[in-house]
């Protein structure tokens, strides 16, 4: 039977608004990750520190009357300082999550020439990038923002009154802003590296190497020339400085956190520029 005999019907539906076109891309980015058991296992691992801290909070709150020194014993007592340490301690897990979630997203599309398919649809390159970024950000947010926020809510919930919340009124905002800063930075970095190659494996390795190299460069230049200014070359150091600002701590490095944030912003601007250049339906080789 000729193949066209199975007929063709016209579609008379109304297209969804263009502003929502990134949503299927985001869903298609997250779906395959969540179908991988190894990734679910990884997310569970990322929540383990939060679970441990949760137990500590429970102990501190419930045993405070009989063991008044528990709060100063090094256990997680849900203060700004502890949340800062929590974020910094989780950096490694954040990095690997961004590698798992973001390294292949654009690289695989480039390998299979899928960009031509995406951009032949009524989509702008920004819609495509927003969709991909949403997929990575949602995954990262589950690891960066959700655990500390859950810890804050746990601590506030265990409090019999509102003493804790009143003592730390800005803490939830600091947590969201800190987690958001990490999420946005790692999302953009992972997508940028992903856009530079056609192999997810290469992108993953390159991403890890980038962090290692930037930190090593920062360390070496610090040793050679002294001072903390080279810290602006390391995205992780800049993130740490940003967290210091958000959690009201003394900066870790002897550089103004604003300078660190400006360096971070500059790096992200360069990344966005690279992404914009790489996400094209056709590559014209002159």
């Amino acid at each position: 039977m000729p193949i066209f005999d199975l007929s063709y019907r016209h579609w008379h539906g109304t297209p969804t608004p263009r502003s929502r076109r990134f949503l299927p891309i985001a869903a298609a980015g997250i779906g395959p990750l969540l179908r991988r058991r190894a990734f679910i296992f990884w997310l569970v691992i990322c929540w383990v520190p939060a679970l441990v801290c949760g137990v500590m909070i429970y102990l501190i709150v419930n045993l405070a009357q009989t063991q008044p020194n528990l709060g100063s014993s090094g256990l997680f007592d849900a203060t700004e300082d502890r949340f800062f340490q929590f974020f910094v301690g989780m950096f490694f897990l954040y990095l690997l999550t961004s590698v798992f979630a973001g390294a292949g997203l654009i690289a695989n599309d480039r390998r299979t020439n899928a960009l031509q398919i995406y951009l032949s649809k009524p989509l702008r390159p920004w819609d495509y990038l927003l969709g991909k970024a949403s997929a990575v950000a949602a995954t990262l947010g589950f690891v960066t923002i959700a655990p500390p926020l859950a810890l804050f809510l746990l601590r506030a919930g265990l409090d019999r009154g509102t003493t804790y919340v009143r003592a730390h009124p800005l803490l939830p905002f600091s947590i969201i802003a800190g987690g958001g800063l990490i999420t946005i930075t790692l999302t953009i970095l992972s997508l940028t590296v992903s856009s530079l190659t056609k192999s997810s494996r290469t992108a993953g390795v390159a991403l890890v190497m980038f962090y290692v190299f930037a930190s090593a460069l920062h360390g070496m230049l610090g040793i050679l020339f002294g001072g903390s200014l080279p810290s602006v070359l390391s995205p992780l150091a800049n993130l740490q400085q940003g967290l210091c600002l958000l959690f009201g701590r003394e900066p870790t490095y002897d550089v103004s956190p604003l300078v660190s944030l400006a360096a971070l912003l500059l790096m992200l601007a360069i990344c966005v520029r690279v992404l914009w250049k790489r996400v094209r339906p056709v590559e014209v080789v002159v």
Partner: protein, 301 residues
């Protein structure tokens, strides 16, 4: 579709030079050898590339002004092998529907229909990465049709297909343009494909338009050439024609290709037949093949 004064360059190399045309509805073949500028033209029509000069209008809209609105009405079948990784065929086509603004339910339903339509119904749950070349060509057509476009742009859609599959795809393209009311622009360097599926051609050569028109008109352009079947003395017929300023060549057992002098009509053939005492058993204007039309168009430029 209308294009005027279009010029495109890759660096210093001019790919399209002062390209202007207006295409009618239906199936149009974009014909030209490799490197003629066909794919560049399609990319400009899709808004992938910005021309250095000139403008293009597709379905009444200026491409440079609103490429997204145009892409909403266009389905594109790229030349290169491309798909979205880690998806089954049906998920892929449904996903493409969602990208075009269809809700998930409609997109999935249409995906099943389109996969049946292109002959991949049985293989729709398989991963695209397992597909053969021919199947990949078909799924490219399915993803382009899922949102029911008004115009289908196909860039070398039969590349890598076996003769049977190629004929099926060409039948499908023909069916879409003739029975489903869809406009089709088929870019190909394979002349028989264009000849089979299209009724109008636009010929590009070295970035310039070297000819355009309906296949019917182009094939009949040489009005003083005829294919004549006779019974009788061919030589006598040839001599009689020669006396009237015509000539003939033998094209088959009883088939002759006759060229008449300027200003002469078919009456000259019958006069020659009477004079030579032969019987005319068939007479029709000679139809050029697309290959001949294209060669003539290139020569004249």
């Amino acid at each position: 579709m209308a294009v005027s004064g279009l010029r495109a360059r890759y660096g210093k190399r001019t790919v399209l030079e002062d390209v202007s045309f207006t295409l009618p509805a239906g199936a149009v073949g974009l014909l030209g050898p490799n490197g003629a500028g066909k794919s560049t033209l399609l990319r400009i029509l899709l808004g992938f590339l910005t021309p250095d000069a000139g403008e293009a209008r597709v379905l009444g809209r200026r491409v440079q002004d609103d490429p997204l609105a145009i892409r909403q009405m266009i389905g594109f079948v790229p030349e290169v092998d491309c798909h979205i990784p880690s998806m089954s065929a049906v998920s892929y086509v449904a996903y493409c529907g969602e990208l075009c603004g269809m809700n998930a339910r409609d997109a999935l339903q249409r995906a099943h229909e389109m996969l049946h339509f292109v002959g991949l119904g049985e293989a729709r749950y398989r991963s695209i990465e397992e597909y053969s070349t021919g199947m990949k060509q078909r799924i490219k057509i399915a993803q382009a049709l899922v949102h029911d476009p008004k115009l289908l742009l196909l860039d070398e859609p039969t590349n890598g297909m076996d003769p049977h599959g190629r004929r099926e795809v060409l039948d499908l393209i023909r069916d879409l343009s003739r029975k489903k009311g869809m406009h089709v622009l088929l870019s190909s360097h394979l002349l028989p494909d264009v000849e089979y599926a299209c009724s109008w051609v636009l010929m590009l050569h070295q970035g310039k338009v070297v000819g355009q028109g309906s296949l019917e008109d182009l094939a009949l352009r040489r009005g003083n050439h005829f294919s004549v079947r006779i019974r009788g003395d061919r030589d006598a017929f040839g001599r009689a024609l020669g006396a009237d300023g015509g000539s003939m060549t033998v094209a088959g057992e009883d088939l002759l290709q006759v060229t008449l002098g300027d200003g002469l009509g078919t009456a000259a053939i019958f006069r020659a037949a009477v004079a030579a005492g032969v019987q005319v058993r068939g007479l029709e204007p000679t139809r050029d093949s697309l290959e001949e039309i294209f060669a003539r168009a290139v020569e004249s430029h």
